[in-house]
């Protein structure tokens, strides 16, 4: 379960890259390709095995100027989705 203190890292074989041709950020994964939108990339690029979910939410609030009541659920939802697909894993403290 994702809590504000959870720290995630990418699962083996999952990598973020920029695709020049489509001018898009892509998550490359085993037999999977996810094209990220702007906010998606802002979150995905902060999943680094160090930042907590709470810290990522703060960073996105600063980036967008929106309150965390609005940003928080979006970030958590996006992260839960990646975790549910096995693309990221919680770092055990």
């Amino acid at each position: 379960m994702t809590t504000p203190d959870t720290v995630y890292r990418y699962a083996p074989g999952v990598m973020l890259r920029h695709d020049k041709l489509r001018d898009a950020h892509i998550l490359n994964a085993p037999e999977k390709l996810i094209v990220l939108d702007g906010p998606g990339h802002a979150i995905a690029s902060r999943i680094d095995g160090a930042q907590t979910v709470a810290q990522i939410i703060v960073a996105l609030c600063e980036l967008t100027g929106l309150p965390d009541t609005q940003i928080g659920p979006d970030v958590t939802g996006f992260i839960d989705d990646l975790a549910g697909k096995g693309l990221i894993r919680a770092v055990t403290p």
Partner: protein
């Protein structure tokens, strides 16, 4: 933008060779296999990977046959990484020892998909026609995970082994795989030749579906379970290759560029090779890709169907194999009016328990 407008390919399937130490009777390779002397060279493949990446492809599936039957597999993977492609290495696991795997890991192969033919040695070795294969595969799977490479097991199911589906999922979990594809045989190539000894009965299919659904609940996110049903039992066809010439292309060992790995059976089309034309010319301009691209080619009932941009009319190779016309609605579709073409096979599957080495034609050159 016309309806047949083509986007760049997302991924390519590189069939590096048809050579393989196994002889699976459902192999999707064509029944006329290409020998070593016809294969593209190292330099030709490297050029193909560069061209594909320049066009916009992001991933390459290194496949075969057994890709490791090529002594230059490491060079080919290096070339793909240099081109910027993400590699899915699809292997039987029989020709990659620890030293070779070390080299592949160092090159940056992020993902290995290992085929499994059964959950125990008796089944696995009998289906692949190779004594000792099961033990080698187990060791290989552990070696992949130990190197931090993502592991997928590809369990191909048919009448003889589908009762082992649950055990194969347990095996995937025990080996540390991140994914398992529980995939019923697709009926192309050798699979079509052996269909009447492979197709599961409705009851068998329902059992597997139940097992997969339960296993998904039990394993949560730790083991991703992809499930592919035999579309003979479906009411609407699969979106074969996500549509002809829309997302993917396949390159055969001799360099033919195909909309899917079975497309060579559509013999009224001429498939260009990378020795004659650039990948881009073939993808965008060749009649082979444009004939069934988009929706213009579709007959009724597809033409006026809401699902035409969902399943793209199903599979051209299946329409040809079962109805005799690659431009027909896939006979799997209940609206095609051609489902009786499948019924004989389904009836036989229901009444005939026959399966196994005695009645299969094993793959051979």
């Amino acid at each position: 933008m016309n309806q047949n407008h083509a986007d760049p390919p997302l991924a390519i399937l590189a069939e590096l060779t048809h050579r393989c130490p196994l002889r699976c009777p459902y192999c999707s390779n064509p029944t006329a296999l290409v020998g070593r002397s016809g294969e593209l060279s190292t330099a030709e493949w490297a050029d193909v990977f560069r061209q594909a990446a320049d066009m916009g492809a992001l991933q390459v599936h290194m496949s075969g046959g057994e890709p490791a039957a090529r002594k230059d597999l490491e060079k080919l993977c290096q070339a793909a990484v240099d081109a910027g492609l993400y590699i899915n290495l699809i292997t039987s696991g029989l020709m990659i020892d620890g030293a070779r795997l070390d080299r592949l890991a160092a090159i940056g192969v992020p993902h290995v998909q290992l085929s499994v033919q059964g959950s125990d040695a008796a089944m696995c070795d009998a289906v692949g026609g190779y004594d000792g294969a099961f033990a080698i595969k187990q060791d290989f799977a552990r070696a992949v995970v130990a190197r931090g490479i993502s592991l997928t097991l590809n369990a191909v199911l048919h009448r003889a082994n589908c009762h082992q589906a649950g055990d194969m999922i347990t095996m995937a979990r025990d080996l540390g795989a991140a994914r398992i594809e529980v995939a019923h045989t697709q009926y192309y190539g050798w699979g079509l030749l052996n269909r009447d000894g492979l197709l599961p009965s409705r009851d068998q299919l329902d059992d597997v579906t139940r097992i997969v659904e339960q296993a998904r609940k039990d394993s949560g996110a730790d083991l991703q379970i992809d499930y592919v049903v035999p579309d003979y039992y479906a009411e609407t066809p699969k979106a074969c290759m996500a549509g002809w010439g829309r997302r993917f292309l396949t390159i055969s060992p001799e360099g033919k560029v195909l909309p899917c790995h079975a497309a060579e059976t559509v013999d009224h089309l001429t498939f260009d090779t990378v020795r004659d034309k650039t990948l881009s010319e073939i993808w965008y301009d060749s009649p082979a890709f444009n004939t069934y691209r988009g929706t213009d080619w579709m007959p009724e009932p597809c033409q006026s169907c809401d699902l035409k941009e969902v399943d793209w009319g199903g599979c051209r190779c299946q329409a040809l194999a079962l109805v005799g016309d690659a431009g027909a609605t896939d006979p799997v579709c209940s609206k095609s009016g051609q489902r009786e073409k499948l019924l004989d096979a389904l009836t036989d599957a229901a009444v005939s328990p026959k399966a196994g080495p005695d009645i299969w034609t094993y793959r051979q050159f």
